[in-house]
Point group: C2
Chain length 408, copies 2
């Protein structure tokens, strides 16, 4: 029997009625002749409530304890969904992350999956059960519970799909697919039927609602990921390998515009321009698991340099204190931060080796009187870091100029 | 370093302030030179809330799923308590029931502990940690989460104390010790400094607030159990082996009066008086884990018999439907139930081999115009099943007549 993995986000299981609705949706897949593994997030904003609860007893809750605490949110939703399935008359069983064989490292709060032992899931599938797995969690080698951090349940779902050889992984969420831009900002934004892993990765990394981790996993293990709404039956978007390959040169050049407002910049001023400085600055950040995005270094005339880099706004306080610890070593005493920035990105695999996209983007922004703070590019993406207050206007201008409402 | 196990009930950890208070209390024991293992119940009435939640998605929630769901309550309280301890500056770590090595059978909702593998707890104690264990839960041989049912966290605590060779197990709760009778019913009731396992077992089995399971375990493994309030510093009651032994014949005869209002009676009428009837009746009840207490059988003249027995009022619906399934086999069609009963018991190891206590009890009840429905006795207990409406008056009359306010 073909196997699919379905993932349901927190809003999809926010209350009893929605849980019963999700159970019916899973049942439909089962009736349609599929084996189903369902991965669920915690109900509604229950994870935030648990974090709030932790802060009532501790100003900085211990990371290991917080993970064990947060893991209960997904146990609640997965057991409730399983009860609902059984009440509808379907054989189902819930498994915690550890029971589902999700082995991780010990980086609490942002653990990464080391491996999956799918034997228990396979055993339950063989017995004809619908298997409901608590997302977002795993177990470390020392038998401690870990959580996977942002996008964790999506990652659980795609990793399980890969380990089980599922035909695809379906992500049901509160958006009904991937759009050329956020439809709340650009009303004429268009839903895409399909998109390549790399394009989606760029879009997700630069603001689309999905977290890049699961897309990266899907790309590595070649698991097609279908993103759709859990509330309606409107067709969603399939993320898979090179969907436009057949269209050769005529394929669309720009796929979408991404906006990320979770951006903060740190500038370390007047650092001596000598080898080892970048390592001394960024190694401590890597050690505590903070991702650094854009890095810009400007050497000035007096043999010192300014180094600017961006991090998630949520990581800014920790990043700042880590940097301050090494400022002596760096030979500087000046650090400036800015938490009012946003990244606007134009993404499209068709842009590769095709000149002119970057200059067109800069022209659109300039015509809109939008100042560019930093620039960063990849093979298939051009990103500009601008003031957050101008970001929505920038997305609208770019969407119009690249004619993304027109379709292919 | 001497080891103690402390258990804190749901009301003791009902909110952040109380959790921090419990953390201070644990810290005091640590400062006093003890190694501490703390076992906690779920916060306040959160277990009831989870049960309510389960019933929003299913009229009869699957037992396995319900156990996994309920186990989250103790994970929440144990991680929060650990965070509070760390915030106070103590090394602490929380362990789930499975992590603490609590192995059980698979009787979901009322699992029994098969064995304890204390290696992880010992490792953490050796490292100087205060170990906080989620009570009420364990893991079966097939790696599924189970809960221990009523009195589960007390059982976890005493079983851990036994497995770890703790010097004693302290149960902190919302009562401040064991009384000669419920002080809400008998204002002159007296708190006992100490009581023997067997007496306490009888008191607990017949209505005192503790569940008999943990006392039985304490008795078997000779773990002294100290019961006290988690809110004050008033001395509590120590339950241990033969505390009155030194006083020889002069020891107090009656220790306390117990009242149990969770009593229901089932009478199966006109059953043929032949071998195998009792087995046919009680085997199915045992199979589903329903404890039968008092059993009375009256043979009448026409070679049929009435069999009456009592069960917990909460077990009555299930017990009734189990009995109805075997009524044909029993050759009867008549079954009567009564859920308005209570058991009043006089308990005291000094009563052994001393005649006259039973007749004195019956006389006190008769003088109070209280009708006795059934009678059951053990070596150190006499119980009368009476109408619930007269039960409190019966306790007061017996407490006065046996002069329990006088002390020893």
């Amino acid at each position: 029997m073909p196997l699919i993995v379905q993932k349901y986000g927190g809003t999809s299981v926010a209350d009893a009625d929605r849980i019963i609705g999700v159970a019916r949706r899973i049942a439909d897949a089962k009736i349609g002749g599929k084996s189903v593994v369902a991965v669920v997030s915690a109900m509604g904003d229950s994870t935030d409530e648990l974090i709030r609860l932790a802060h009532t007893v501790s100003t900085s809750p211990d990371a290991r304890e917080l993970d064990l605490l947060l893991s209960t949110g997904e146990l609640v939703s997965s057991t409730l969904l399983t009860m609902a399935l059984k009440t509808l008359g379907y054989d189902a069983i819930s498994l915690s992350g550890p029971q589902a064989g999700i082995r991780t490292d010990t980086m609490y709060g942002r653990a990464r999956i080391d491996s999956i032992d799918p034997s228990r899931v396979q055993k339950e599938l063989k017995a004809g059960h619908i298997v409901v797995v608590a997302g977002f969690q795993g177990i470390s080698d020392n038998q401690d519970i870990t959580t996977l951090g942002r996008g964790g349940s999506d990652t659980t779902a795609v990793a399980l799909a890969a380990a089980l050889g599922a035909e695809r992984c379906e992500i049901y969420t509160d958006v009904d697919g991937i759009y050329t831009a956020d439809p709340r900002i650009v009303p004429e934004a268009r839903k895409l039927d399909e998109i390549g892993y790399q394009e989606m990765l760029e879009l997700a990394s630069y603001g689309a609602k999905m977290h890049p981790r699961s897309i990266e996993l899907g790309s590595v293990f070649n698991v097609p990921i279908y993103v759709a709404s859990s509330f309606g039956d409107a067709p969603g978007t399939t993320i898979h390998g090179d969907p436009d390959g057949s269209q050769m040169e005529n394929r669309i050049k720009v796929t979408g515009i991404a906006l990320n407002t979770n951006v903060a910049k740190i500038t370390v001023r007047s650092v001596p321009d000598q080898p080892g400085v970048a390592a001394a600055l960024f190694e401590p950040l890597a050690k505590v698991g903070i991702s650094v995005d854009t890095i810009v270094q400007n050497t000035s005339s007096d043999r010192t340099t300014d180094i600017s880099f961006t991090v998630s706004r949520t990581d800014l306080p920790q990043a700042e204190s880590e940097v301050k610890l090494v400022m002596n070593e760096l030979g500087t005493s000046s650090i400036v931060t800015d938490a009012t920035l946003a990244t606007v990105s134009v993404v499209g695999s068709g842009m590769q080796n095709t000149p002119g996209y970057a200059s067109r983007m800069f022209r659109v922004l300039a015509d809109g009187r939008i100042n560019i703070d930093m620039i960063t590019t990849s093979e298939i993406r051009i990103s500009c870091i601008i003031q957050e207050g101008q970001a929505q206007e920038a997305v609208r201008l770019l969407h119009r100029d690249f004619q993304l409402d027109k379709g292919d």
